[in-house]
């Protein structure tokens, strides 16, 4: 891949990135969330089209316009989230879209016997033992991944992209995966391996490319790298003036969580922490650390199996918590998925900002429009939302302004505790600063804030304390002023 650039409105996702991968090697791709790894791979696999640059395969420039073309060129991708069809058999999943056919009396039928034979041969060559006729839904995650790898190989792949393939595997399963990877290397397949786990990277890869802010920082043989070196290259950027001055003073404990555990096996367990009045508590960790699940449970969107939550010294009935009750307790939740569970795209800015607290505007059974508009106007002015009018549809605002309206929605409920899940995700730099200012202001006014963030500079720049989670457990607390990105990284990968 040479000089690949890709821009999304307001965001330069890839900036002149080149990547050379040799056959028969594992090339690791590293970087923080949002560094551009996935975008680069999506360009390679034809899910995105780069604005500039070209892809050269075995000396020939190729135009990868869609995944079908990529597969035809021998480029396969194993996604982080596996998407098998659980109710169909293993072989049907593998040969989907290109079933072997047999013509009987001029009509084409799927040749199940040939498919079964081909699948068995494929598994044998990879040293896997999976029954081609089992339903995929009955397999373990690791077996499903093996199936995906077999599928990738079945396209006679020359390049296989693996996006965080070990994120849901146990240690033994990782070993099994590595055996398969080594085998593929032996056949001359080039593997691009995306992972956060440094130990793994150093173990399996031949070369490592580190990306940051959409740019390539360094490409180096893995043998010459150390964990420290990788971390320094992954982070290392100027943190000054990206965050507003904060003058909040944490006071007494407002929220006290003890031993909170999810009924789901792989989710959060035994989480304990205190949140003080006027404090910004950052929660750090990698994707999959179950941070979102934790705050959603506190807000009543998910069940818990054990643990207690105290609010200003009073026990909260967390077993029967609902968002409505949480709202009544003075909590607010800004979800990470703005589009999925935040905005009402087809409703106006006004409706979007008042929906969480309509009762306040009811006079004699009916809503008082004048009071509603007044509250909406106040909100827009206070948070400096750029919108043509209150009746503009939410879907016509930019991401940053949508996020401000969502802040406004919760501020109008006059909360004491704000749970902010990735509050600046997908927002351009300018709007980010404004969001930070809002958060700093709220803390100064004595509101308590929990802020989940996958961006380390943001965690360090905004938090009084940082709680780091790894695989559903709390791996440590750090002081915001003195913590370093390296420390967060270590804690975030502690139980891996």
């Amino acid at each position: 891949m040479q000089h690949i650039s890709k821009e999304f409105p307001g965001v330069r996702a890839l900036d002149d990135v080149s990547l050379q991968v040799r056959p028969g090697t594992v090339h690791a791709l590293m970087g923080e969330n949002g560094a551009g790894k996935s975008t680069l791979m999506k360009c390679l696999f034809g899910l995105y089209r780069p604005d500039r640059g070209e892809i050269v395969l075995e000396g020939q420039p190729v135009q990868v316009t869609e995944p079908k073309v990529a597969l035809a060129h021998g480029i396969s991708m194993i996604h982080q989230e596996l998407h098998p069809i659980p109710h169909r058999s293993v072989m049907e999943n593998i040969w989907l879209g290109r079933f072997p056919l047999r013509r009987i009396a001029g009509v084409s039928f799927v040749d199940h016997r040939a498919m079964h034979r081909a699948t068995q041969a494929l598994f044998q060559s990879l040293g896997m033992s999976i029954d081609p006729a089992t339903k995929v839904g009955n397999l373990s995650v690791s077996k499903i991944q093996s199936v995906e790898i077999a599928k990738a190989v079945s396209y006679s792949a020359k390049v296989i992209i693996m996006d965080e393939p070990t994120s849901s595997l146990t240690e033994n399963e990782v070993e099994h995966l590595f055996r398969i990877i080594r085998d593929l290397k032996g056949r001359g397949v080039a593997i691009i391996y995306i992972s956060h786990k440094m130990e793994e990277i150093l173990k399996i890869s031949d070369e490592v490319t580190i990306m940051r802010d959409g740019k390539r920082v360094i490409t180096s043989p893995a043998a010459q790298l150390t964990e420290d070196l990788i971390i320094r290259n992954m982070v290392g950027r100027d943190l000054k003036h990206r965050f507003p001055e904060r003058s909040n003073v944490p006071g007494e404990v407002v929220l006290s969580v003890r031993g909170l555990t999810s009924p789901t096996a792989k989710s959060f367990r035994d989480v304990s922490f205190d949140l003080r009045k006027g404090e910004i508590l950052g929660i750090g960790g990698l994707v999959g650390a179950q941070r979102t699940e934790l705050v959603e449970a506190i807000f009543g969107l998910r069940a818990i199996s054990a643990g207690t939550v105290e609010l200003r010294g009073q026990r909260v009935a967390i077993d029967t918590q609902t968002p409505k009750r949480a709202k009544g307790q003075g909590m607010a939740l800004l979800t990470e998925d703005r589009r999925g569970s935040g905005i009402f795209p087809s409703l106006s800015v006004l409706e979007n900002s008042l929906i969480a607290d309509l009762r306040r505007y009811v006079r004699f059974l009916l809503l008082d429009d004048r009071a509603r508009r007044a509250a909406g106007t106040r909100m827009i002015e206070r948070l400096r939302v750029k919108t043509p009018s209150l009746s503009t549809l939410m879907q016509d605002l930019s991401g940053g302004n949508q996020q401000k309206v969502l802040f406004g929605r919760w501020l109008l409920t006059e909360p004491e505790i704000l749970l902010l899940d990735e509050p600046t995700r997908g927002i351009d730099v300018g709007a980010k600063y404004e969001i930070y200012t809002i958060i700093a202001d709220l803390a100064r006014q004595g509101k308590s804030i929990i802020m989940i963030s996958s961006e380390m500079p943001e965690l360090l720049g905004m938090s009084d304390r940082i709680m780091v989670m790894c695989e559903g457990r709390v791996s440590g607390f750090l002081e915001g002023k003195s913590a370093s990105q390296e420390e967060i990284m270590r804690l975030a990968a502690q139980f891996m």
């Binding site: 409105p9 307001g10 409505k324 999925g340 009402f344 087809s346 429009d369 995700r425």
Partner: protein, 372 residues
């Protein structure tokens, strides 16, 4: 993956209104027509019907009398469409409306026959104290009972949908069947034995056929009732927390949950109100026609959903207004009436109706896609 792309796309800078390019009058007209393509098409259809009626010497179509007929014919349909709009607003579809109309028609008619009629559903009813002493109450009890029965079935619909997460389309498809079954059993009861119920009381049929004179205009009661229902619905949807919550659930149910809206309660109440409206529609249908059978309301769900869609209620949920539904019902009613007026074969009419519904939705979805 598509989500990330979308998220990234929406981070573009918003354009302040003063920087937006001013549209030329021509572009403005084109925009207006394409935004309201379905309305424009309907106007054309009406004009074509009128022109054909004139050409074929069938008399003038565009008369006050015909317009009044359209209004009377579509009053019950408007009420039913108002109920059906709830489900569509929350990205579902209520298929049980027509069967509820039939149930309410049979229930109310069975208890509202004139005592001197030959074949009575309840021959003993007319000796009861209420009937002999309080004719006013004897009129209202059956009406309210019919409406309440449908409200109850609506509540069951809402509960099944909210409690078990059954898709509204399936839940109400089941209701379509069992309500028809319940109604059939009742209708088949001795001594009625599935005979059409007739001979309704004069004070009952007066609701459906009478009119109030306001100066030179005589306004049919039934049109007035439909109008009041529309006003009630407008207030409910625009001036109450409940209405706002319905729009919110239709717009994004996850966001509604996070905002602390009681989604369960809202959905149950919504379908209950819808049931009550279907019940009212059924009662008025019996009153207007002076009789009832268990096949009353047959395929009304089609007209109701079609009118909503034509009136701009989006099947993707969260979009639609009460005035829009009123216009949708009128347009659909004018076309129905017009096609009959010029003598189009009823089966051909069905074909046209089907085409209108599907194209209305296709237009709606296209509009939605263009915005993305």
């Amino acid at each position: 993956m598509a989500v990330t792309e979308k998220q990234l796309k929406e981070t573009g800078p918003s354009v302040p209104p003063e920087q937006r390019p001013r549209k030329s009058p021509w572009k403005w007209t084109v925009q207006l027509l394409s935004d309201n393509a379905i309305f424009a098409a309907m106007v054309v259809v009406v004009l074509v019907i009128a022109a054909y009626a004139w050409y074929a010497d069938l008399g003038s179509f565009l008369t006050l009398g015909n317009f009044k007929n359209v209004l009377i014919h579509n009053s019950t349909r408007l009420i039913v469409a108002m109920g059906a709009a709830f489900a569509i607003l929350t990205a579902g579809a209520d298929l049980s409306s027509g069967r509820m109309v039939g149930l309410a028609a049979v229930l109310s008619a069975s208890m509202l026959q004139a005592p001197d009629y030959l074949r009575l559903f309840y021959p003993d009813l007319y000796q009861t104290w209420i009937w002999t002493h309080l004719p006013w109450l004897s009129l209202w009890i059956p009406i309210l009972a019919a409406v309440a029965a449908c409200a109850l079935f609506g509540l069951i619909n809402g509960w099944v949908i909210a409690q078990f997460g059954v898709a509204p389309f399936i839940a109400t498809l089941g209701a379509y069947a069992w309500i028809y079954g319940v109604n059939g059993l009742y209708f088949d009861k001795a001594p009625n034995n599935s005979q059409p119920i007739g001979g309704l009381r004069g004070d009952f049929t007066a609701i459906g056929t009478g009119a109030i004179d306001i100066g030179p205009i005589s306004l049919p009661y039934i049109v007035l009732i439909a109008l009041l229902v529309a006003v009630f619905m407008w207030v409910l949807m625009n001036k109450t927390t409940f209405g706002k919550n319905v729009y919110a659930i239709g717009g994004n149910v996850n966001a509604a949950k996070v905002s602390g809206i009681n989604v369960f309660k809202t959905i149950v109440v919504m379908y209950t109100i819808a049931g009550a409206l279907y019940g009212l529609g059924g009662v008025l249908e019996a009153s207007r026609t002076g009789g009832a059978t268990n096949n009353y309301g047959n395929m009304y769900e089609l007209d109701a959903i079609a009118s909503c869609v034509v009136g701009g209620v989006s099947v993707t949920g969260g979009i639609g207004t009460v005035p829009g539904i009123v216009v949708g019902v009128l347009i659909f009613g004018v076309i129905n009436y017009g096609l009959t007026f010029v003598g189009v074969n009823p089966y051909v009419q069905m074909i046209l109706k089907g085409i209108i519904i599907v194209s209305a939705v296709a237009f709606d979805v296209r509009k939605y896609m263009a915005k993305k």
